[in-house]
């Protein structure tokens, strides 16, 4: 009998693990997940509501794929894990035995105990079910209030605006996402949000959500001003946390997430945790112990599959990078650029903004050694592989400035800003750097 691998969660991390175990072995694989029948791309949820895609378009594999690859799918929620018997209990009361178990449970939206947070019309934006709810609530919505200014909050605002629903956006911080973004960038996004007719309220906390006589939300009260805002939808988007409530009475060790070592092993040697729900016991570089992003889930899935197939492997995510979109402005980040709020003493920050004020870059480097630490870029696409290489080679900021043309990844005919950027850099730091011509040789060297 082949070993039975059971995976809980059919998100990117669980699915990647399953696919790679199948590539490398003949083990029996079962995926249990309660949200949907098939894997879909959570990051594309917003586009279903906005009408860019249908739900089936967000499924990266066609439905025949699973049977063909002998990956068994079971739609159910797991309610208990009996680690001693190596057995799961499902919400339909059936049980399932496993030899090895992979927990890929994902996240759930945070709720901070606000009065009224469980009313009809109050929702997070994480699961497919949330989207279905939003669809229902939208039917007769005159105003929506979104609480929490992060990536999902701004997506929800964009979604609602696509249906022409008036949106008020309550953001606790004094400027959008300024715990992560340097000030100049954060201000640029504030303006862009207003340009999309979203009623952005900075330094505003939610005090209370009020219900009408049917138990449906009718208004919210803002803490700072006491103002009461009538609304029919409240979106709670103040971050996410690991979706591990049902593990609390198991023997599996948890903190905020499921505690794992570099091999993604929990305190049981046949149980692993990957994706959003995993918390690293020991920090990896400057990365946070829990990282709720798509690509780390995928990398963890690949890594754990190696280990399970007999090639025990450390999780090694490499240099930090990420990308997102704020309404019409694309954002990429490579390496570490800390916001003004939390930046370490050694971080020097160079900020440049284009005359159109919708494109900017921020480069972080070490004050003394001039070592390049990271870059944020808005509205200009750059090449991931090149920054990754420069970070590995420990290039200094002067090298990066001189070679900016190599890293530009905008389509042909786009306006090029490298000369402007370097001139500004020269004037700020009293240097006389010159941009080097773009070299395909340097760029393509990477691929071998």
């Amino acid at each position: 009998m082949e070993e039975h691998i059971v995976i809980i969660g059919n998100g990117i991390s669980g699915i990647t693990a399953a696919r790679h175990i199948r590539k490398n072995s003949n083990k029996r694989i079962t995926i249990i997940s309660g949200e949907t029948d098939y894997f879909y791309s959570r990051t594309a949820l917003m586009y279903i509501y906005m009408g860019h895609m249908k739900f089936e378009h967000t499924q990266p594999y066609e439905n025949w794929f699973w049977e063909k690859n002998r990956i068994e799918l079971k739609k159910a929620y797991v309610t208990h894990i009996h680690t001693d018997k190596k057995e799961l209990v499902l919400d339909d009361q059936s049980t399932m035995a496993y030899d090895k178990l992979i927990l890929a449970l994902g996240s759930k939206p945070n709720k901070f105990g606000w009065p009224g947070q469980n009313l009809d019309g109050v929702m997070g934006m994480y699961h497919k079910q949330d989207l279905d709810l939003l669809e229902q609530y939208s039917v007769d919505c005159n105003r929506a209030v979104i609480v929490g200014g992060g990536l999902i909050g701004i997506e929800l605002a964009e979604m609602l605006r696509s249906r022409n629903i008036p949106v008020t956006f309550l953001v606790r911080e004094s400027s959008f996402w300024n715990g992560v973004l340097p000030d100049g960038e954060s201000e640029m996004i504030n303006k862009h949000i207003l340009e999309h007719h979203i009623d952005l309220r900075l330094s505003s906390n939610l005090q209370e959500i009020k219900a009408d006589e049917n138990g449906r939300v009718k208004s919210v009260i803002i803490q700072e001003t006491g103002e009461e805002l009538p609304c029919n939808i409240v979106g709670l988007t103040a971050g996410v946390s690991p979706n591990i409530a049902f593990l609390k009475d198991s023997e599996i060790e948890t903190g905020r997430g499921i505690l794992v070592n570099r091999y993604l092993e929990t305190n049981f040697n046949n149980i692993y945790a990957i994706g959003d729900c995993a918390e690293q016991r020991d920090a990896i570089g400057q990365r946070r112990p829990i990282e709720a992003v798509w690509y780390t889930g995928r990398m963890m899935g690949e890594t754990v599959a190696q280990t399970i197939c007999g090639n025990r492997k450390q999780y090694n995510p490499g240099h930090w990078f990420n990308s997102a979109k704020f309404l019409d402005i694309e954002y990429q980040t490579y390496g570490w650029v800390f916001s003004d709020k939390i930046k370490p003493d050694y971080q020097e920050t160079f900020h440049w903004m284009a005359p159109c004020s919708k494109k900017c870059i921020t480069v972080a480097f070490h004050k003394e050694s001039k070592l390049f630490l990271g870059i944020n870029t808005f509205g200009i696409r750059m090449r991931h592989e090149i920054f990754d290489k420069w970070l590995t080679e420990k290039r200094d900021v002067f090298y990066v400035m001189e070679h900016l043309k190599d890293v530009n990844f905008d389509p042909e005919f786009y306006e090029q800003y490298e000369d402007m950027i370097i001139n500004y850099f020269n004037s700020e730091y009293d240097t006389s750097l010159k941009t080097k011509k773009r070299s395909w040789k340097r760029i393509l060297n990477l691929s071998n």
Binding site: Y38, K54, E135, S138, S162, N164, P166, D328
Partner: protein
């Protein structure tokens, strides 16, 4: 199974209402289209010049103002909201209606032009929609319109006005702006005005299409006998016939491979080609409808390469029959019974060699290349056999027969009726993706070693 999806239909109390400018401009364009439809239905407007000008002008101005107004109301950026809700862009009632209307138009255009009014009046004069276009045709080339002239005019107008709409919609993207200007110009100037005007200027000489951007194998008719005849009769056409002949050969043999290798096949498909021009302008609202299934991709590979091979075989057969019965004299040299088979053998032989080399050395034994190599080998054999036996039909069937079926099945039914007629159902690039032999030919040059080969990302 998935619980039946809620419809995701937009049912919200905040529908965007069109403002007066949008309403008036949209209405203007609709009236312009109505005039065309009425003419098609047989309404005689008496003063065709005025009504034609009104119709074309209203369509152009209406769409121009409407798109300007609509897109400038929003900040620059990607605009895909509601494409899967809208009945026109989500295979709804409007989409099917439009699809049926377009398909019907194509069927009449290709096979029953008399129902468009082409030569349907007394003494062969035009009636209906073709008659409506007589004044414009008179102006450009001093003769009455044909159904093809009507088609060309509407086609160019659509690319122009919906191209402008496209530019407003994608104004955040400079690449798209430049590309769209080029593809509009390329249709308007190269495919429409120059050929029409040149035809008028050389009214006494045999006709051939003077569109500089036509390339075999997409424009397969440039290898047909009437075409070759027209270009060859020196004293009639003068140097231009010769010029077009050599230009076609250079386009096919040199320019296409080189450009495709260096910039990808988009140089043709979305910057130059008329089919691509229509797909990227009028077809833009339907681009998301293309099938992403694995099965579609499998069909695509067999179909497009199959058609490409068929064009090759057909062309060789047509040429073979032509040259075995006639000497083709273009001053510099003469092609005839003896020289043509030898040239063909050399050409096919070199292609065969190149394919074999690619199969063995460059492609790590790609199955498709192997099939291609075998086919070229067979063609080589067939030509050799026909040459040795002195037959004028190289593949043992009459070349006319091949040509007829290709013209019917691929040239008309696939690229026209299916390709454009059902944009609203299958998406805008159906022909380009599944059928176009030119795309297949260019695909060969960007598939290996080129920066533009299409791969998965990751």
């Amino acid at each position: 199974m998935e619980s039946k999806n809620t419809s995701y239909a937009i049912s919200n109390p905040h529908k965007v209402k069109l403002d007066p400018i949008q309403k008036v401009s949209f209405g203007t364009a609709i009236v312009g289209v109505l005039i065309l439809l009425l003419a098609w239905a047989g309404v005689d407007f008496k003063n065709n010049s005025i009504f034609l000008a009104l119709s074309l002008g209203m369509i152009f101005i209406g769409t121009f103002i409407y798109s300007r107004r609509t897109y400038l109301l929003h900040p620059e950026g990607i605009k895909n909201n509601h494409v899967w809700f809208n009945t026109l862009s989500n295979r709804g009632v409007w989409a099917w209606s439009l699809g049926i209307l377009l398909t019907g138009f194509y069927v009449l255009l290709y096979w029953f032009p008399q129902y468009l009014g082409n030569g349907a009046g007394t003494d062969g004069t035009n009636t209906g929609i073709v008659a409506l276009f007589d004044p414009l045709s008179q102006l450009l080339k001093s003769k009455n319109a044909s159904h093809w002239f009507v088609y060309g005019t509407i086609y160019s107008l659509l690319i122009l006005s919906l191209g402008i709409k496209f530019i407003y919609k994608y104004r955040h993207n400079r690449y798209q702006i430049i590309r769209t200007v080029v593809v509009i110009m390329s249709q308007l100037i190269l495919a429409y005005f120059i050929p029409e005007i040149l035809e008028g200027l050389n009214a006494d000489k045999p006709y051939f299409v003077k569109d500089l951007k036509q390339i075999w194998p997409l424009n397969y008719y440039i290898t047909e006998s009437w075409y070759l005849n027209a270009m060859q009769v020196e004293q009639n056409v003068g140097p231009s016939g010769l010029f077009y002949f050599f230009w076609a050969v250079i386009l096919f043999l040199v320019i296409t491979p080189v450009l495709t290798y260096y910039v990808g096949k988009r140089w043709y498909c979305s910057w130059v080609c008329g089919c691509g021009g229509l797909a990227e302008t009028a077809g833009d609202p339907f681009r998301h409808l293309s099938s992403k299934k694995l099965s579609a991709w499998k069909i695509e590979r067999w179909l497009i390469h199959g058609i490409m091979v068929f064009v090759l075989i057909m062309t060789i057969a047509v040429f073979y029959t032509y040259f075995s019965g006639k000497e083709f004299d273009i001053k510099l040299f003469t092609i005839d019974k003896t020289t043509f088979p030898i040239a063909a053998l050399i050409f096919v032989g070199i292609s065969f060699g190149a394919m074999l080399y690619t199969y063995l050395k460059l492609s790590s034994h790609n199955k498709f290349i192997l099939v291609g190599t075998v086919i070229l080998g067979l063609i080589f054999g067939a030509i050799l056999y026909a040459y040795l036996t002195g037959s004028s039909d190289v593949f043992l069937v009459k070349s006319k027969f091949l040509k007829k079926w290709y013209g019917f099945g691929v040239g008309a039914a696939f690229s026209g009726v299916v390709g454009v007629g059902i944009y609203p159902v299958l998406g805008s690039r159906v022909w380009c993706r599944f059928g176009c032999p030119m795309a297949g030919y260019m695909g060969l040059f960007q598939r290996f070693k080129s920066r533009f080969k299409i791969t998965t990302n990751g």
